[in-house]
Every structure is written in C-alpha cells, then in structure tokens.
C-alpha cells in the first residue's frame, strides 16, 4: 500500500487556492493528490461547502485527507463539509490549523513520504506552534 494522504486547499479566492496548489505540485510533484477550491456559490469571494466536499472526494486516499484553509469562514465551511461526508470518511479528514501556503507545502511534503494523516497534520501545525 503506497497510498499517500491527500491535500485539499480551501481559500476564499479561487486564484489563491489554485496558486497554492500550483506551488505544492511544483515543490512536491504529482505523487500526492492535491485538490483545491475557492469562491462562494455565486463565484465571488467566499467558500462553498458543496465544492469543498467535491475537493475532498477528488483528493481522497485510504490514508485520509488534510485540509488547509485561509480565513475563518473557510475553516467553518470545511468543518461543515467534513460532517456531511459519509460516516466512515469523516474521521479520516482533518482541518489543519496552519497557514494555507506554507501548511499545504509542508503537509504535502510530509504526505509524499508516506506519513500518516496525524503526522501530516502535526507537521503542518508545527508552523503555528510557539
């Protein structure tokens, strides 16, 4: 089993989400599944539970998915999206308390080495510690 933790990037801005995903792919390569979303249901700045659920499913791996968010609403909507997943998937998804760009790169780097979801989350969250 060489599956790796998937990474989901949720920003209020689709451009920021896409740019972050581009950076992750360039720095980590394509071995880690990365999905992103941004924008409210009308396409303006904001976040969208439905798109977050789709992104989680796109990045799905048997090792789980780590979500990186920018501001408050992205976190709240991501937590809501996790609760709306099928029950067996819910406990395999975490929302990381980490800066979105640095957190995504660190998380993906850790994931690429085959680490567990908890290890991936811990590495991303070290950025906010201290």
């Amino acid at each position: 089993m060489n599956d790796t933790v998937g990474i989901v990037i949720v920003s209020h801005s689709k451009d920021i989400a896409k740019g972050t995903a581009d950076m992750v792919r360039q720095m980590v390569g394509s071995e880690v599944k990365v999905a992103f979303c941004g924008g409210n249901p009308d396409g303006g700045l904001g976040t969208n539970v439905s798109l977050i659920i789709d992104a989680i499913n796109d990045a799905w791996s048997t090792k789980g998915v780590a979500i990186l968010v920018d501001l408050g609403g992205a976190e709240t909507n991501s937590e809501m999206a996790v609760e709306m997943l099928e029950p067996e998937r819910r406990k395999m998804v975490v929302v990381c308390n980490a800066p979105i760009v640095e957190g995504a790169v660190m998380a993906a780097t850790e994931a690429a080495g085959g680490s567990s979801l908890e290890q991936v989350r811990a590495v991303a969250e070290e950025l906010t510690a201290g």
Binding site: N40, G44, N48, V49, G72, T76, N77, M80
Partner: protein, 206 residues
C-alpha cells in the same frame, strides 16, 4: 395552537423576505467590522430557501427544518452558512417527537447549542449568540405567558444593542481587537431580523 402548515409557510416566507430586505444593512454592518459579505451571503441563502418554499413546507416539520439548514449550509458561502445551517439542522433533529409550542425552548436550545459548538463560541463574544442565548433564556423563563412573543421581540432588540460596546473575540471582527467596539454585530443583527419576522408573523395570526 399547533403550528399549522400555512402558518409555517408564512413564517419561513416572511423570515426569508425580511433577511433579504435587510441585506444592505447587514452588509454595511459587516463592512465596519468584518469582510462585508454578511448581507449578500444571507440574501443568497434565504433566496435559495424561498425558491424551495413549497417543497420545504410540504415536509414534516422536523424534515423541513433540516432542509432549511442544509440549504443554508450549501448556499450562504460564508461562516454564517454553517452557523445558521447548524441551528436549523439541530433544531430539526430535536423536533422529532416534540410538540410546539410546548417544547419550543428545548428545540430552540438545541439549535443554540449547535451554533455554539460550530463556532466554538459563547455569549459575550460579539456574535449571533449574544442574541440567541438571551432569547433562549426568555423562552425558558416566560414559556406559556400571553406576552411571550412581545418579550422575545424586546429581548432580541435589547440584545442587539448590547453587542455595540462588546469587543469581538471570535470571527473576523476579532482581528480588529478594540476597534470592533462601538459597532453592532452583523450576526446578532441578522438573528434579530429573523426572530422579529417570526414574532410579527405569529402576532398577525393570533
């Protein structure tokens, strides 16, 4: 009094229309201490509710609440979506096997607890909970009184005013620290708009 389907339909309709009408005011409040999208987000969410009004109000009450909650979660596009959405989802869950208005405080309380859990917040932090929690206290304390509706209305208005001197410690407004003092909280205001719409509709039907 039981919550007849026609009454429920007008409750949902008036509440949605009032939120939509207050969108410019909510946005103006949010521009002062947030990111200025509360009005447009709430308007989008409640327009989606209005679009489904017939489908929602043809469901059993507990299911109808859950559909409203899910619609808000999926369409609002800001933190208020999961917050209000969780209120209706939890209230709908609590409604199963309960009777209104007898169990109103318990059902409303389930919704308030869900908002608190979703936002990891409590009353006193300049949020919608600063309206919802006092209203819950009124529903508990004054249950069965003839003037309950009026008391809920007054409680909500006074609670909104009390958010003005508060300093935000949750949500986007907390970034402003002391500069959040002196403004009405937009989420408290939208909760008040919803509650006042419910009060007015119920009074008109009495």
């Amino acid at each position: 009094m039981t919550l007849q389907s026609e009454t429920f339909k007008s409750l949902v309709k008036v509440a949605a229309e009032q939120v939509i009408a207050s969108a410019p005011e909510l946005t103006a409040l949010d521009q002062a201490i947030g990111d200025g999208d509360h009005g447009t987000n709430m308007k989008r969410g409640f327009e989606a509710v209005l679009n489904k009004l017939d489908a929602i109000t043809s469901q059993p009450l507990d299911q109808a609440f859950k559909t409203i909650g899910k619609t808000l979660v999926m369409t609002v596009g800001g933190a208020s979506g999961p917050l209000y959405g969780s209120f209706f989802l939890a209230a709908g869950e609590a409604l199963a096997g309960k009777k209104l208005p007898e169990d109103l405080a318990e059902v409303f309380g389930s919704g308030v607890n869900a908002v608190s859990a979703r936002g990891r917040s409590h009353a006193g932090e300049k949020t919608m909970l600063d309206v919802l929690v006092p209203v819950l206290e009124t529903l508990k304390a004054d249950a069965g009184r003839d003037d309950l509706i009026e008391r809920v209305r007054t409680t909500a208005s006074e609670a909104v005013a009390r958010t003005v001197p508060m300093q935000a410690t949750k949500g986007r407004a907390s970034f402003l620290g002391a500069r959040s003092v002196g403004h009405v909280d937009p989420g408290a205001k939208s909760s008040c708009v919803l509650l006042h719409a419910v009060c007015s509709t119920l009074e008109a039907r009495q």
